[in-house]
């Protein structure tokens, strides 16, 4: 059964067709490299899957049953997590606070609930250790490097038992050494049966980890095929329109 299936998804903003009749299936543990030029509809697609936008038409199926997301929380509950391009991180909070943002653990004293900072720090510390990141839970995100911020964003998505993780340009703002770490992490997620949608401009990164490549051009899905049967040259052609479909 597919972890996620998009059936004829369209999304219009007034007269602009950001997504047009897109159908795509993603199996558990599959890594899908989603590519396309700026404005091709990648971010819109992520936002539709993540529940930020409702599709104008079409269906989203999770494990074979239809899902209706009215807000991001609905998608989270269905096991979909997003690591955003702009990182969706609050600079003024600590790494641990960011990891738990929106789902802070609390201790209850009768009607009074107090944020459990100790639990937040220790759990965030475990996650960073799993990511082999040097990020310290107490550090304020404002003072972190791009790679550490990425680790915070990814740790967020590991917090719940996500089944599908969407990553928007996870390797765009970090050092070469940390790119390798992030790609390793993606493989680990895949081995645990988590499906990963990797949105990236960096062709080598995509072909290193992706099982399948999907290409969007002007809101339409022009290719969806195993990475082993494609090549960077073909994908470049598909993105620019030199090759119509594949």
């Amino acid at each position: 059964m597919s972890a996620l299936e998009l059936r004829n998804i369209s999304k219009h903003f007034g007269a602009i067709r950001a997504l047009n009749n897109v159908s795509l299936t993603i199996e558990p543990g599959e890594v899908v490299g989603l590519m396309g030029d700026n404005g091709a509809g990648k971010s819109t697609m992520v936002k539709v899957i993540a529940g930020n936008f409702a599709p104008s038409s079409g269906d989203i199926l999770i494990n074979g049953s239809k899902a209706h997301f009215h807000k991001p929380l609905d998608a989270q509950k269905a096991g979909i997590e997003v690591v955003y391009q702009d990182l969706a991180i609050c600079n003024n909070l600590s790494a641990a606070s960011n990891v738990f943002l929106g789902r802070e653990p609390v201790r209850r004293f009768g009607p009074i609930q107090i944020v459990d900072y100790g639990k937040m720090r220790s759990r965030a510390g475990e996650l960073f250790a799993r990511l082999k990141s040097e990020t310290r839970p107490r550090d304020v995100v404002r003072r972190m490097s791009g790679g550490q911020r990425q680790a915070v964003a990814i740790a967020r998505s590991l917090l719940t038992d996500a089944r599908i993780i969407l990553m928007d340009e996870p390797t765009a703002a970090i050092s070469v050494r940390q790119v390798a770490e992030v790609l390793n992490l993606i493989r680990q997620l895949s081995e645990h049966g988590i499906a990963v949608v990797l949105i990236s401009h960096r062709m080598p990164d995509v072909f290193e980890v992706a099982d399948k490549v999907a290409v969007l051009r002007r809101g339409e899905l022009v290719a969806s095929k195993p990475a082993s049967k494609s090549s960077p040259e073909e994908v470049t052609g598909l993105i620019t329109g030199a090759i119509e479909t594949a």
């Binding site: 909070l93 943002l101 789902r103 003072r143």
Partner: protein, 331 residues
């Protein structure tokens, strides 16, 4: 306690020491008691302003709310003989309604906080003046409300109850801002509203709550001020008080861009402001220069704070660069 708060505390002590050396009356029980009373009165609504500033907003209507609700409170208790606990409840409920209206206009109708609360400033002041036809609202001659007076203007062991009330409110609000989930969300919404919403935080609810807290505390302060002055002159009562609150918050380390600040900071800010007022009186500086002294100190304080922060950031960057260089040499 954060570094910023500690700096402010030291500044308060240093200023206090200087004033004491020039005029020992500064530490007399009477002066301390009176100053503590004023710190309490102004601190109560400054804490509320802090919550609004935390969201990146501003509430300019606080002074007018204090005037309008003060007039209504005095009228209810003095004019219509409403039992005072009921009058207190009604006043606080009205405060909550005002905050709710601000919050809804700002989050639902996407109006700018400055505009909404500026209109509030004009509207509430206008209603207060219109309702009383510019007459001063006061209690009837000889009227006395022992329990209410004990709660508001009474003293225990020389400590004014307004100050004690402020401390209690500060402790409760410290838990709300620094220990509750709502507080975490307030920091997040204030700094990066979009990130907060992506994290599933209902930012509209969080922001509206901040305005409700602000106006409710302004309502509490309105009762204390009305009891303190005993009569409310609708055209001048509470004038500029919102600016005192904003000044206290900014001195206390709040950023008007949102997402920065602490309860300890805003309380210390309120203390410093009253200390400065007291300084003007005790050192024989003409009281007409009052505002000039306050403005200068705030300006210098914020300037020094920012320059220090920039200096620290530069030093950190230099250290990181050196580390990088040495790593490169090793490898």
């Amino acid at each position: 306690m954060q570094k910023k708060d500690l700096g402010l505390a030291i500044l308060i002590i240093v200023v206090g020491a200087v004033v004491y050396l020039r005029n020992p009356l500064f530490l007399s029980p009477i002066n301390l008691g009176n100053t503590a009373n004023l710190v309490g009165l102004f601190g109560i609504f400054a804490i509320g302003q802090g919550f609004v500033i935390m969201t990146g907003g501003i509430d300019l209507s606080v002074g007018s709310v204090i005037a309008l609700l003060g007039v209504l409170f005095v009228e209810m208790v003095g004019g219509y003989a409403v039992p005072w606990p009921a009058a207190v409840a009604i006043t606080i409920a009205l405060g909550a309604l005002i905050g709710l209206a601000h919050g809804i206009l700002i989050t639902r109708f996407k109006m700018q906080p400055f505009v909404v609360t500026l209109c509030g400033l004009l509207i509430y002041r206008g209603i207060a003046r219109g309702y009383t036809a510019e007459a001063t609202a006061g209690f009837p001659f000889g009227a006395s409300y022992p329990q209410l007076e004990w709660l508001t203007i009474g003293r225990s062991y020389g400590i004014p109850h307004s100050f004690i009330a402020m401390i209690i409110i500060a402790v409760v609000m410290w838990f709300v801002l620094h220990q509750s989930v709502f507080g975490r969300h307030l920091y997040a919404v204030g700094k990066n509203d979009e990130a907060a919403r992506f994290s599933g935080i209902r930012s509209g609810f969080v922001i509206t709550s901040a305005y409700v807290i602000c106006s409710v505390l302004a309502a509490v302060a309105a009762i204390y001020f009305a009891m303190f002055t005993k009569s409310v002159q609708p055209s001048s009562h509470g004038n500029f008080y919102e600016l005192y609150a904003i000044a206290a918050a900014v001195l206390g380390g709040f950023s008007l861009r949102g997402g920065e600040g602490s309860i300890v900071g805003v309380v210390l800010g309120a203390v410093l402001l009253q200390e400065l007022q007291n300084l003007v009186n005790l050192l024989g500086i003409p009281s007409s220069l009052n505002f000039a002294v306050m403005g200068t100190v705030i300006l210098l304080g914020v300037l020094a704070d920012q320059q220090l922060a920039a200096y620290r950031a530069k030093k950190r960057a230099a250290q990181a660069f050196e580390r990088l260089q040495s790593e490169r040499v090793e490898s």
